[in-house]
């Protein structure tokens, strides 16, 4: 049971004559495309734009927090900055990040299909994303919103006169974009698998997307109706969330977190899928305990629906409820622990190389471990009292979302970049970017754990001077982090023209997507493939490369 995988000689690789990139030309052929790969590229471009927009807001926030005094921007502006940062990063970046770009690109190929089940709905979901984004940008240009991304009532309904309705509308529409993406994935994974592609031959990337899609389809509508009620409350004054009219503001919290907690798993699960692929590929080894990793994704999705009230422990939910939700929260932490250890065990007796995606994956494992374990702090009832609503929680979810998800996203983009574009990114440059990001991240967010335990509340524009040292560290780290994120923006476009030609399988990975040409044909496969081996079967791959001189497609 041992495999030697030799990397192909890329000197011989040539770009294919025909691919999805050059099958048609013109703006119209992109904007009206049904091709999942082109839609993925549309998403990639729009998501990158909003990532840097949201990042710019974060930059100003960190700059403001350099000094304890409220001296850079006014309070209102500051509130709008963190609101727009949260809304854009969550609804326009994190939720669609991996699924809509990388997932959209590779899932149909991974399952051996020519496209997603509903290509037009896939395109529609991008247009919905853009429409939602337009609403948010409109709200932004017209003075912004300062509700915080949580739209907490009664603040958002009765006490603010900013563009809450426009922003809520934007989130509402973007939510439907996410619903349709999830719906498409579920149907595709169920119905479009090629012959021989059984459930347990699917790459783990598909499993994690499947789990995340369930959450998108069942959770997002609850957010939609909640936002509709917020809009109605603001316009007509219906009183459902208004205590003076007999409504209960806590009902809003329940409904909101019913979506927004599973949303955390919508964001992180696809990232976990990327890590499974990357770790396996760069250790040339089957993922340790495939079934456990696959089912832990599903377990996270299912348990993810039972834990939402842990966001409300200090808000006056009943003690009994708090107890149950805390217990379930502890349970949902276990599948994540399983994944981390299984990935670590995958490295055992592998043949490791450390290309950029692998470095990002290591970053993910370290940072997500910290993020996950600090989640246990917050899930423990007593500790939550002191830590919630402080910078500790800010640090916690940035470790999970930025340290975890963003690392996974970058790992995924680098990993599949040769497949998407047919060219390699510059390796040493990107390794530098990965290391910079990691160092910058730790420097930015680790001090926030300490300042959080010291009691600094989140969303504070000005703070007591004794917290300044840690905040200065954090801002300094943010600068490094910013550079780490800007680097790919420089070398990725550069590689489009000057990158080395990748060939069909530069990493010698086993997924179906690596067995076809890069960039793929519009139809992905000339003939529908037949799957005759397990996922991550490197012996099959070694055998195949021995017998085939040229690649398929």
């Amino acid at each position: 049971m041992s495999t030697i995988v030799t990397l192909p000689n890329q000197e011989e690789a040539r770009l294919p004559k025909l691919s999805y990139l050059n099958s048609e030309y013109g703006l119209k052929s992109w904007l009206l495309t049904g091709d999942h790969k082109r839609i993925a590229m549309l998403y990639l471009i729009s998501i990158t734009f909003f990532f840097f927009l949201g990042g710019a807001f974060a930059g100003v926030i960190r700059l403001e927090l350099l000094t304890p005094q409220p001296d850079l921007v006014a309070s209102d502006t500051y509130n709008k900055l963190f609101t727009m940062h949260g809304v854009i990063m969550i609804f326009l970046f994190l939720v669609p990040s991996v699924p809509a770009t990388v997932g959209n690109f590779v899932i149909p190929i991974m399952v051996g299909a020519k496209d997603l089940a509903f290509p037009k709905i896939n395109l529609l979901s991008w247009y919905l994303y853009v429409a939602g984004a337009c609403f948010l940008v409109y709200a932004l240009l017209n003075g912004g919103v300062d509700t915080g991304w949580t739209f907490t009532t009664p603040l958002s309904t009765h006490y603010l006169n900013t563009h809450v309705i426009t922003a809520a509308m934007g989130v509402f529409i973007a939510g439907f974009s996410s619903i349709f993406t999830g719906l498409n994935f579920i149907v595709t994974i169920h119905r479009m698998r090629c012959p021989g592609m059984t459930w347990f031959r699917l790459p783990l990337f598909c499993w994690s997307h499947y789990a995340a899609s369930i959450l998108m389809v069942l959770g997002t509508p609850v957010l939609a109706i909640t936002l509709v009620l917020v809009m109605l409350e603001r316009t007509v004054g219906i009183g459902v969330f208004d205590p003076t009219k007999g409504g209960d503001p806590l009902l809003f919290q329940h409904l909101f977190w019913f979506y927004s907690h599973p949303a955390v798993y919508i964001m992180i699960l696809p990232g976990m899928g990327v890590i499974s692929e990357v770790i396996s590929t760069f250790s040339r080894k089957r993922v340790f305990g495939y079934t456990a990793v696959a089912f832990s994704s599903v377990a996270i999705a299912v348990f993810g629906f039972f834990v939402w009230a842990h966001h409300m422990f200090i808000m006056g939910v009943s003690n009994y409820s708090a107890l149950v939700f805390s217990l379930l929260t502890m349970l949902v932490a276990v599948p994540s622990a399983i994944k981390i250890f299984n990935w670590a065990a995958t490295l055992y007796k592998g043949s490791l190389t450390f290309e950029t995606p692998m470095l990002y994956a290591f970053g993910f494992m370290g940072l997500f471990t910290i993020g996950g374990l600090t989640g246990v702090f917050l899930g423990s009832l007593g500790m939550d009292i002191h830590l919630t609503e402080t910078y500790f929680i800010v640090a916690h979810f940035h470790f999970v979302m930025v340290g975890g998800m963003l690392m996974a996203y970058l790992a995924g983009v680098h990993f599949w970049w040769p497949k998407m574009t047919g060219r390699m990114y510059p390796e040493s440059m990107s390794q530098l970017a990965a290391v910079t990001t990691f160092i910058g991240f730790i420097l930015t967010f680790f001090p926030q754990f300490i300042v959080g335990y010291l009691g600094m509340p989140r969303r504070y524009h000005a703070y007591p001077p004794e917290f300044q040292v840690l905040n200065v560290l954090s801002t300094a780290g943010a600068t490094v982090l910013g550079i780490g994120y800007l680097l790919p923006m420089l070398y990725m476009p550069w590689s489009l023209k000057y990158g080395k030609i990748a060939g069909s399988n530069p990493w010698q990975a086993t997924g179906l997507e690596w067995q076809i040409q890069s960039p793929p044909l519009t139809e992905n496969f000339v003939d529908i493939p037949v799957m005759d081996h397990e996922a991550y079967d490197y012996e099959w791959l070694a055998h195949k490369t021995e017998h085939e001189v040229t690649t398929v497609g």
Partner: protein, 368 residues
């Protein structure tokens, strides 16, 4: 080596402010910190375990050293190990956390009560003795203090990091928190729930004093009338005493010694008359009708401020006999402008036109 003065200042500043946790100034703080260190230890162990695995394997099995990957399916035993060990640890965290939670949120019966009203963007504290404070809270040490809190507008959150306590302050509902300060000093008070423009200015200080100093402070800053006395005045001016007169034929229930007792409601349920119940009964009387009484009380929603409600609650709390009500009744009847009003059942409260229509059509006491 030359260190620039700015950097030097920065380092000095850092070293003098390098606390990793806030001062332990309440009885609960050591328990919280102990739990925190336990959690930190677990995290450190977990992180180090992952780091050792990742770095160890990276060195041992890098391609130069291990050109051949050995395919391994998995190991149920190993997977079970790293399922059960984290689960056990998390369960310990759960139990420990739950115990701490109930310790923090269940006040002892002998706690002294202070009322807190949160509004955009200030904290108002009302001591039973009639001391009013804004953005500051004076408390004695070594004595459990319970805060009964409510918000006038949006969600706020009352947080004293040095005491390790925090609780959401909710509009329309009392929430409580308690602590026992152990060290004198001045501590931060934060609003930690985002509440609008000046959220970060909704801060204050908590002054923990020796009991003697507290007595002195309380004597020096009283406004003259206790909350109960204010409540008594309000009780009379709203005309509450016309029904809640404590007489056997009265249309409303007798309120003396009602606080803390179990009440039988008209819908068959029983409730304990605590602060929250009293407040609700004033604002939404018809959902809290006592057995044997008709739902004729008008609502006072929007007519009494939260401070006024606190006064009323504090007054009813301290009603040990009917003596005071009857006293009030006499004085209000003596007052010329109110004599007629209190007998007709609609005193000078604004707006209860509906009550005027409702009240006469119902006999005084209807047994359902």
């Amino acid at each position: 080596m030359h260190i620039s003065p700015v950097l030097w200042q920065f380092l000095v500043h850092w070293l003098t402010n390098s606390a990793l946790f806030p001062p332990e100034a309440s009885a609960i703080s050591p328990y919280m910190d102990a739990f925190y260190f336990f959690l930190c230890a677990i995290s450190a162990v977990g992180l180090i375990a992952v780091a050792i695995l990742v770095f160890g394997f990276s060195i041992l099995y890098r391609k130069e050293k291990s050109p051949v990957a050995t395919q391994i399916e998995g190991s149920t035993l190993l997977e079970a190990t790293w399922t059960i060990i984290p689960l056990a640890l998390f369960m310990i965290c759960f139990v420990w956390g739950a115990l701490l939670y109930f310790r923090i949120y269940n006040p002892p019966t002998n706690a002294m009560n202070i009322y807190i009203v949160g509004k955009q963007w200030m904290w108002k504290a009302e001591h039973p003795g009639g001391q009013h404070e804004i953005d500051s809270l004076h408390i004695p040490i070594n004595r459990p203090v319970q805060l009964t809190m409510i918000s006038q507008d949006v969600f706020h959150s009352f947080s004293i990091p040095a005491f390790r306590v925090k609780r959401e302050v909710i509009p329309g509902r009392y929430s409580t928190v308690w602590f026992e300060a152990t060290a004198t000093g001045t501590y931060h008070l934060f609003c930690t729930q985002y509440c609008g423009t000046d959220h970060s200015a909704m801060i204050g200080e908590v002054v923990a004093m020796t009991p003697d100093d507290y007595q002195k402070w309380a004597a020096g800053s009283t406004s003259g009338a206790s909350l109960a006395q204010n409540g008594e005045r309000l009780f009379a001016s709203l005309g509450c005493n016309s029904c809640h007169s404590g007489e056997a034929t009265a249309r409303g229930p007798n309120l003396s010694q009602v606080y803390g007792s179990r009440l039988q409601l008209a819908d068959g349920s029983t409730v304990t008359a605590n602060d929250a119940f009293l407040r609700e009964a004033i604002l939404n009387p018809s959902t809290h009708v006592m057995q044997g009484y008709a739902p004729i009380m008008p609502t006072y929603q929007g007519q009494v401020s939260e401070e006024g409600l606190i006064d009323l609650v504090e007054y009813i709390k301290n009603l040990n006999s009917n003596y005071r009500i009857q006293q009030t009744l006499t004085t209000s009847q003596l007052a010329p402008g109110q004599a007629g009003a209190s007998s007709s059942g609609t005193p000078q409260v604004n707006g209860p036109a509906r009550a005027g229509r409702t009240a006469p059509s119902v006999p005084g006491t209807v047994n359902q």
